[in-house]
């Protein structure tokens, strides 16, 4: 694909619908919305450079693979060896669309559960946390998660299973502690 109009059309068709997903995943990878925006911009530039050889199948998976490489390069440039991706889940501010429950009691209950959940996920080993954040919070498929993390699908599944099991046990413990107090 060498025609500039065709490249622009392909970019609009495959890339633009994925911007929000890319931003969310980038936020999970970097821990900040501002760094996430930079990472998505870098991903967009790389994606446009490679759009000519993209076959149009699974654009999200293709973009997430590009993002993973861009993120690795960014870490090499900035803070080598110091990144703990997906950390700080409990500090994320639900600024937009935060009112999910209809009444104040449900809102309080949801907030308590959310805080316990965020703590449970935050306490996981980073390898397990990354997978549960991408699959259960960012709603990526196994394949997309494998692409972002650069690991096989079987590893995604086994880590997800262990992560959920640990979160489940942690919530059970949290409930038991609340009942006692």
């Amino acid at each position: 694909m060498t025609d500039p109009d065709a490249r622009s059309a392909a970019f609009a068709e495959y890339v633009e619908p994925e911007l929000e997903v890319l931003l969310r995943v980038a936020q999970s990878l970097t821990g900040s919305w501002s760094d996430a925006e930079d990472l998505v911009q870098d991903t967009l530039i790389r994606a446009f450079a490679g759009i000519g050889s993209f076959d149009g199948a699974y654009p999200r998976a293709w973009l997430l693979t590009i993002m993973r490489r861009a993120n690795i390069n960014a870490h090499r440039r900035q803070r080598p060896g110091t990144i703990d991706p997906f950390a700080g889940l409990e500090n994320r501010t639900p600024a937009f669309g935060s009112a999910v429950a209809d009444n104040p009691e449900d809102m309080v209950l949801e907030q308590v559960i959310d805080e316990a959940l965020a703590q449970a996920v935050g306490a996981l080993d980073p390898r397990f946390r990354a997978v549960i954040v991408l699959v259960d919070i960012e709603q990526l498929s196994y394949q997309e998660t494998a692409d972002v993390l650069g690991i096989p699908i079987g590893t995604v599944m086994s880590r997800l299973s262990r992560a959920r099991s640990r979160v489940r046990k942690s919530l059970e413990h949290h409930r038991a502690t609340r009942r006692q107090s």
Binding site: P4, D5, R7, S8, F11, A12, V15, E16, L19, E20, L22, L23, R24, Q27, W33, A36, E37, V40, Q41, L44, I45, F48, R92, T93, P94, A95, F96, G97, S98, V100, E110, I113, D114, L117, A118, V121, I132, V135, D136, I137, E138, Q139, S141, Y142, Q143, I153, M157, L160, S161, R164, V167, R168, L171
Partner: protein, 91 residues
């Protein structure tokens, strides 16, 4: 004794498939036979049904966390503009 052993085997077999059953991910589908065997076991096993319910609960609560932290629309709009600039830059 034989019944208890058979149930234990079914529980272990099911435990390895409940995640795939819940997620229904295209990369790891259950076969029709697996699906039939698993649902038949869930119909009669309280422990595995409880495990399924709890896992679905965790999954649903985490999905709700996602709903509550949608990105700022201004950032998305800025990226959309950036994407358009990148793609039109070479024309």
């Amino acid at each position: 004794m034989i019944h208890a052993l058979r149930t234990m085997i079914e529980c272990r077999w099911s435990a390895r498939r409940i995640q795939r059953y819940i997620d229904a991910d295209p990369a790891a589908p259950l076969t029709a036979d697996e699906l039939q065997r698993l649902t038949a076991h869930l119909d009669v096993c309280e422990r595995c049904t409880a495990r399924e319910r709890e896992t679905r609960g965790v999954k649903a609560s985490l999905a709700r966390l996602s709903e509550r932290r949608a990105p700022d629309p201004v950032r998305v709009a800025r990226l959309r503009l950036q994407a358009q600039r990148i793609s039109q830059g070479e024309r």
